[in-house]
Each structure stands twice: as C-alpha cells, then as structure tokens.
C-alpha cells in the first residue's frame, strides 16, 4: 500500500485511478452510509445507481459488446480466459446424466466445453442422457452463442440436448424447483444486482447433491501483483476497448465491476449463506480469477 501511495504521488494520477483510490480508502464510511439510507441503491462500476438502473445499464453494456465479446476477451486476457474456462470444465468433470444450467453463458463458452468433455468421454452416448440449458438475460449474447453452435456443429449428433433460455438469474420463475443437478456461472454473477438472490435461485433449481460452480474475477492476495493488475486494468483495458471495439465505457465498467465484486473469502461465505455446503475455491493466475464450488447436500 505504502509503495502504491508513493508511486501515486510521483506520477500524475489519471482520473479512473483517482476514483479507484477514493473508493478503496473510504469504503468503510460508504458502507455505514449505505446501511442507513441508501438501501435501494447499488453500484455500477464505481458509480452509485438505482437498482433498476443497474440491470438496464448492464443490459446495455452487453448489448453493445456482444459481437466483439470474444475478440476482446482474447485481447484483454492474452487468450488466458480460454485456459481458465478449460480448467473450470476440468474441475467440473461432468458425467453422463448431468443436467446443467449454464447461467450467463450466452456465447456458449462453457456449454461448448461441456459438450466436448462429454463427447470425449468413452461410451458417454450409450449411457444416460445429458442436457444443458444455456441461460442468459441478454438475447444478443444468446444469439451469438446460437450462431456459433450452429457453425461449429455442436448441435448435430451431439450426446447432449441443448436448450436456449432468456431469463434473469435472480428470478428463474419459469424453472421448477430441483430441475437441474449442476449450475455453472462464468463471468456473470458480477453483473447481477443481487448476488444473494442469484445464489438463492441457484440453490432452489438444484437437486440435492447438485453442484454450484462459479468462475469469476477476484482479488489478488499479493498487494504488489494487485497493483500491477490495477495498472493494467485501468490504464490499458479501456484503451484497448476504444481501439478494438470502439467502446470505452463498457470496458471501464468491466474493470470497475471487478473491483466491486467481493473477494474470495467473502464470496465463499455468501455461497455458504445461500445454503450450499462443502464450499471451496481455487485461485487461477494469482487470484485474477477464482473458481468457487459448492454442493446442495
């Protein structure tokens, strides 16, 4: 921290970073204030907005980035996001008979890995039937996924049934209780207004013994690494967004929302509070990402 402050004094501080600092240092006071007066407010990146507004704004963000989503992911993470997702699927290790709901999985990254995993398993087709419901709040993202699935041949003679569903993770009213046995959400829960409601719904739609798995950006335990990562996020990512996708704001939001998301331990206890047991997490790339896993038992 002290190193960070010194360097900050030396260099002229760009605007986004000033915002970061103020939020970091005064977070305790904001918490107290929020407690009493601003219950209906939430954060959108570092802005404070009405709860309804956040849903709308997040929707707009993904509406604008949907097409360039994959290119940008590759650019920003140097392709490492593919490895994160591969590791995620390895830890998940689906077995034939899995009924998966892939929440916030519009572009199908997790779903396609899931299908591949089951395809590569010997005599998977002969045994029980597996299925996946790709669910996203944003039809634009779902469309990207549908087109890709068609193009890459995931729908033809696949051992897995694929459904597409446009729904809000906080209110899965159309899904009856205990209708899935696995719930994954990769890089999605951060954008939800009420994380606790999402977890609650996840718990509800899972059968006993079902698994909840979440891949999400997290905090780096090492302060030096966190500083480096902050520099990269705030100085470079929005610029890349502007250059490649022609959008500054969505990527500004992206890095800010990552800072707003609870750290590994906090999120773990949130999952436990939703009723999940045997909750564990694993850091990827020094904690840039974390895989959280919990069971409904």
């Amino acid at each position: 921290m002290s190193l960070r402050r010194k360097i900050l004094r030396l260099i002229s501080v760009p605007k986004p970073y000033q915002k970061l600092c103020s939020v970091r240092y005064y977070s305790a006071q904001t918490a107290a204030k929020n407690d009493s007066e601003e219950k209906r407010k939430t954060h959108f990146g570092f802005e404070t907005v009405d709860e309804d507004e956040k849903t709308k704004k997040v929707y707009e963000v993904f509406e604008t980035v949907a097409e360039k989503y994959d290119t940008m992911n590759d650019m920003m993470s140097f392709g490492v996001h593919r490895i994160w997702k591969d590791i995620f699927m390895m830890r998940f290790a689906p077995t034939p008979g899995t009924k998966l709901i892939d929440m916030a999985g519009g572009t199908g990254d997790i779903t396609f890995r899931y299908i591949n995993y089951l395809r590569n398993k010997k005599n998977a087709t002969a045994e029980k039937h597996s299925s996946v419901t790709v669910c996203d709040i944003n039809p634009n993202m779902l469309n990207v996924g549908k087109v890709r699935a068609e193009k890459q041949g995931y729908l033809k003679d696949s051992p897995v049934d694929v459904d597409w569903l446009c729904a809000d993770a906080e209110q899965l009213t159309m899904i009856p209780d205990e209708s899935y046995n696995a719930y994954t959400i990769a890089f999605g829960i951060r954008n939800c207004t009420h994380i606790d409601k999402v977890l609650e719904e996840a718990y509800r739609v899972l059968q006993p013994g079902g698994r909840f798995m979440c891949l999400e950006f997290s905090q780096l335990p090492n302060p030096t690494m966190q500083w480096l990562y902050d520099q990269y996020s705030f100085q470079l990512i929005p610029v890349m967004g502007q250059l490649v996708a022609g959008q500054w704001k969505p990527y500004q939001y992206l890095v800010e929302s990552i800072r707003q998301f609870p750290d590994q331990e906090k999120f773990k206890s949130m999952i436990e509070d939703a009723g999940f047991r045997q909750v564990t997490y694993e850091n990827l790339t020094f904690g840039v990402c974390a895989i959280h896993s919990g069971f409904k038992i």
Partner: protein
C-alpha cells in the same frame, strides 16, 4: 463491496431458513456444536457415497466414474463426485482407512497368549499383515492402479498417514510399548515389510496365498535378525567385526590363504 455487506446481513436469516428446510433449525445459533454437527453431516454423506462407490471399483477402477456411480447409488446425481477433489485418490484413501479400522477391530479380539512371552510375537504380526493384505483380495486386479494413484504427489501425504496408522496399530496391538528409539525402528521396519509384501502379493498366484505368507514370514525373520544385530553391544563385537572386515579385504585382494 460495502453494499454486498448490507445485502448479506439483511438476507442472512431469511436465506438460512429458506434454504436449510425445517430439519436444520438450530443452525441459526452459531455455536461450536452445530458447526461440528454440520461437519459430521457432510462427512456422513461423503462416507455414504464412498462406501457405495467401492461396489463399482471392480468394474470401473479407482476413478471418478466409480465415484459418480457411487453418488448415484446413494441417491445423488453423478456430478456430486466433485465432493472428492482428489478423485480416485480419495476413494483409495477411504478404502485404506476402513480396512485399517476393520483390522483394529479384529485384532482386539485375537488371543494374547503370545504376548506374554518375551520374544517378538512374530506369529501375531504375520497374521495381522496377512489379514490386512487379504482385505485387498476383492480389488486385487485393480490394486496396482490404486498403488500408482497413492504414489501421485497430491496423494502421498494421505497414503503415508494411513500406512503409519496401520503399522502403529499393528505394533500397539502386538504389545509394543516402547518409548525409545525402537519405536521408530519397529514402525519403519514394519512399514517396509508391509509394502514389500503388498507388492509380492499382487503377483502371487499360489494356493491360499501361501507364497505371500511365507514371504511375510521370512521378512519378519529378517527384521528380527536385524533387531538382534542392532541390540548387540558394539564394543563386545568389535573384534569380530574387525576380523570380518579383514577377511573381506583379504578376499577382495585375492589373498585368501584358505584356498
């Protein structure tokens, strides 16, 4: 971050009661006992799945598939195999633990006459090792793989722990009450004998495993000899040792006069 604190503390109670159902009402009192109960509950479910998974080992080996089938047999979806992040390693570990427990139960009821004599209770030790080895019998064809799994770096600590508890139990129940350096020698020695016998047993096709039995017997005898050698006062045997060394040196130099 601050806002999620608000949400959490606000929603905690309702979430708990909603999610846990009526069976776990005590959960809202955060005492130590409930935490233990929670832990016990999770452990019981895991043990149940592992026990069921053992039935499938003969077919699908010490793998995630067996765990998945075990989970299904216990009434959970196959995906619950994720409860065991070490996969087959956890299954092998569970099997070792249950076998060790079974062995201790049996050994408690064994006659203790041999212990009254002052010599090493070789027969008892041999019986203990054989009993434990024969527990592998149903899984003999898949056991080499289990041994390989145990040798994987992330499973080594568990494997050593179960081995130590096994030899410790055998030593204790065959009358070892030493508190000196012998404590280590006996346990390390016995662990060596057990692991060597295990390897021998895998390729033993003799009737009633008589080959393994005689192997165990001779290894125990070896150990006894070593023990005797170690217990001998080094000063008293110094002349003998020197003579032996001298003779060996002479032999190596080709100066053996006895020829």
């Amino acid at each position: 971050m601050p806002l999620s604190t608000v949400l959490l503390s606000h929603a905690q109670k309702t979430l708990r009661s909603y999610c846990q159902g009526p069976t776990n009402k005590e959960i809202s009192i955060p005492t130590k006992t409930t935490e233990q109960e929670e832990h016990q509950y999770e452990e019981n479910i895991k043990k149940n799945i592992l026990a069921k998974a053992l039935d499938f080992v003969q077919k699908t080996g010490w793998t995630i598939e067996s765990l998945a089938q075990g989970a299904e047999a216990a009434g959970y979806p196959g995906i619950a195999h994720g409860l065991f992040p070490n996969g087959g390693g956890d299954l092998v570990h569970y099997f070792n633990i249950t076998c060790n427990e079974k062995l201790v139960e049996q050994m408690k009821s064994w006659p203790k006459e041999e212990l009254k004599e002052s010599k090493v209770p070789a027969q008892l030790i041999e019986n203990a090792i054989m009993t434990r080895l024969l527990m592998i019998e149903p899984y003999k064809s898949t056991w080499p793989k289990a041994m390989a799994i145990q040798a994987l770096p992330n499973n080594v600590p568990n494997c050593l722990a179960t081995l130590l508890s096994l030899v410790d139990d055998i030593c204790y129940h065959t009358g070892d009450r030493s508190v000196d350096f012998n404590w280590y020698i006996r346990r390390v020695g016995l662990a060596g004998i057990y692991k060597a016998s295990e390897l021998f047993y895998l390729t033993d096709s003799s009737q009633n495993n008589s080959g393994t039995r005689s192997f165990v017997k001779s290894r125990i005898r070896d150990a006894e000899l070593i023990q005797i050698a170690l217990n001998v006062n080094p000063v008293a045997v110094a002349p003998q040792t020197l003579t032996a060394a001298f003779v060996t040196a002479k032999n190596m130099l080709g100066m053996n006069s006895l020829k």
